[in-house]
Amino acid sequence: MMPPIVRLLAKRLGTSLIVLVGVSMLIFAIARIIPGDPARIALGPNATAEQITMLRERLHLDDSIAVQYGYFVRDLLRGDLGISLYTNRPVTADIAQFLPATLELIVVAGLMMILIGLPLGIISARYRGSWADNLIRLLTLLGVSAPSFVWAVILMLLFAFFLPLFPIAGRITDSYTIEPVTGFLFIDTLLAGNLSAFADAAWHIVLPAFALALSGIGQAARLTRSNMVETYDKPYIEMAQSYGFPEGKIAWRFAFRPSLIPSLTIIGLDFAAMLGNAFLVEAVFAWPGLSRYGVAVILRKDLNAIVGTVLIISAMFLIVNIVVDLLIAFINPRIRYSQRAT
């Protein structure tokens, strides 16, 4: 018999695959039911009839939508997402080029969300009712109350223009030339042994990542607080208090650990929101990532690129959620031992 954790993983992977197929159908359907001829829209008003016919053939636009989807899946299984009509390169190549910058941004923002949001929530719950709690609640609510592009603009105005502590835009100062090996600047600069370039890249990512993280920080803190406050009413907290365990230990081991479980689920969802909000932050900070590419191809109605980008983003979201589920199983012995997932 398989250990429960492996069974859980298998089950989650299976469900995710079904969902991913659904996503591909949905986005494919949306892309194909648009009014007008996609080929004409993509090629612009100056295209000749011959060019349009050729493109229609290449995209199989004259077949039924089911057949078109069949071609799409066949190509997808070969790792081929088609040619971008905007860059004229394989969509996979475009995504491979732009994805690392976005991932780097999201990972840093995700770390900020967890490392700042959770402690704020814990402090808030531990000292609930105090002035610190009220202040944190107010600030975190403000954090979730503005879209990340507003935070991006405000942060840029305050900490790049008025107080020039951070660079205004971009990923790294132009004077550094770093050979792209992985596409991740943090890794590439280290591979090149260029520590000052590494520091420069780190300096560039602070503001965009923080702007992206702000609403997640707020969400994580608010959720952790409310879960912990609820947990504080549980009998085992009273039991811990009656045994005189130190308050810090009660906060951490008795109130936080059990309430982390519902918080984690939401953190996973926040991560998804970040994948979308990266579109906004990258636009403000001229961050050369997948989101900027995404907006560009959406504006140009570049079918293949749109479908590919959405699919990759959804796959990333599903992977994050599987990781979150495994983390929950790791923390929650009830799932680990009895495999009662979801």
Partner: protein
């Protein structure tokens, strides 16, 4: 004469809320001598459980609570101790068992880890191996068949009765002089509850532990306690040795409670629907049960 393990004199408790002040305890007095098992009996909402929390010093921290009166543990008034000293008593000299063993244990830690925490209260530097040995012995004392397996389990993997035994073992592990049992095992089924109570009685007798047994269940109290205080709406209404009180209940409220017993045969809350003015009659104290003088 040595001081009683617990002495409560004229204890008042009120909560200050947005609807004004709510009085919960109207000056109750009780005492427990060393090795004695004393029951505090009443309906839910009568003020039994808050009394337990005051003894542990937990309620005093609540900002809305107003507490006055004397609570002395082994001759020392709690109010005169520093917070650190009061804290040292908890889980060490005074320990507590709760109503629902299933939800009173932390769901994400193994029993062994939680036992280690408890033992650290008496011996902060106890090594994990030594703690484990001690915990296993304590679990063997409460007749848990495979202590080591239980220590490696989570609460949800054990039955309610097993969890209750674990709770009892934890509560007695540090040899406290006072054990507060707040409706122990009410959440369990009747036979399991009876078994664990019997176990608990034997253990506290062996260790000469004083017990404050809080319950709404007169049937259980009769089996367990040496003396009984009956509490009604924040006032003690009758006090006497168990045998005397059951043989000759003198306060109208006690009589009403006892009349409700046959219907409940061990479980359920006695339902006394009609509130009578008689229930507010003054305290009845049985022979030889006067409260001790307060000294010092």
């Amino acid at each position: 004469m040595t001081a009683p393990t617990l002495l409560i004199r004229d204890l008042y408790l009120a909560f200050r809320g947005w609807a004004g002040q709510i009085d919960v305890l109207h000056g109750i007095s009780l005492h427990i001598n060393k090795g004695e098992r004393v029951a505090l009996v009443g309906e839910s909402g009568s003020g039994k459980s808050v009394t337990a929390r005051i003894i542990l010093g937990l309620l005093q921290q609540t900002r809305s609570a107003r507490v006055s009166g004397l609570v002395a543990f082994e001759g020392r008034a709690l109010a005169k101790l520093t917070e650190a000293e009061r804290h040292r008593l908890r889980g060490n000299r005074i320990s507590m068992i709760f109503q629902d063993p299933m939800s009173s244990l932390n769901p994400v830690y193994r029993i062994g880890e939680q036992f280690h925490e408890v033992l650290k209260r008496a011996e902060p530097r106890i090594a994990p191996a030594a703690a484990r040995e001690k915990a296993a012995a304590a679990l063997a004392d409460v007749a848990i068949p495979d202590p080591n397996r239980a220590l490696d389990s989570y609460a949800f993997q054990l039955s309610g009765g097993m969890n209750q035994r674990v709770m009892i073992a934890m509560a007695l592990a540090n040899e406290p002089s006072l054990l507060i049992a707040d409706e122990p095992g009410t959440a369990l089924d009747v036979t399991v509850q009876a078994q664990t109570l019997e176990l608990m009685r034997d253990l506290v007798a062996k260790h000469h532990t004083s017990v404050l047994f809080i319950s709404h269940n007169l049937g259980v109290v009769r089996e367990f306690a040496d003396r009984v205080y009956v509490i009604y709406k924040g006032r003690i209404v009758e006090h006497g040795r168990t045998a005397d009180l059951f043989a000759d209940p003198r306060h109208p409220y006690t009589r009403a409670l006892l009349a409700a017993v046959p219907r409940i045969t061990g479980e359920g809350v006695p339902e006394i629907d009609d509130v009578s003015e008689d229930y507010f009659q003054p305290l009845v104290v049985h022979e030889g049960c006067a409260e001790p003088e307060v000294t010092g």
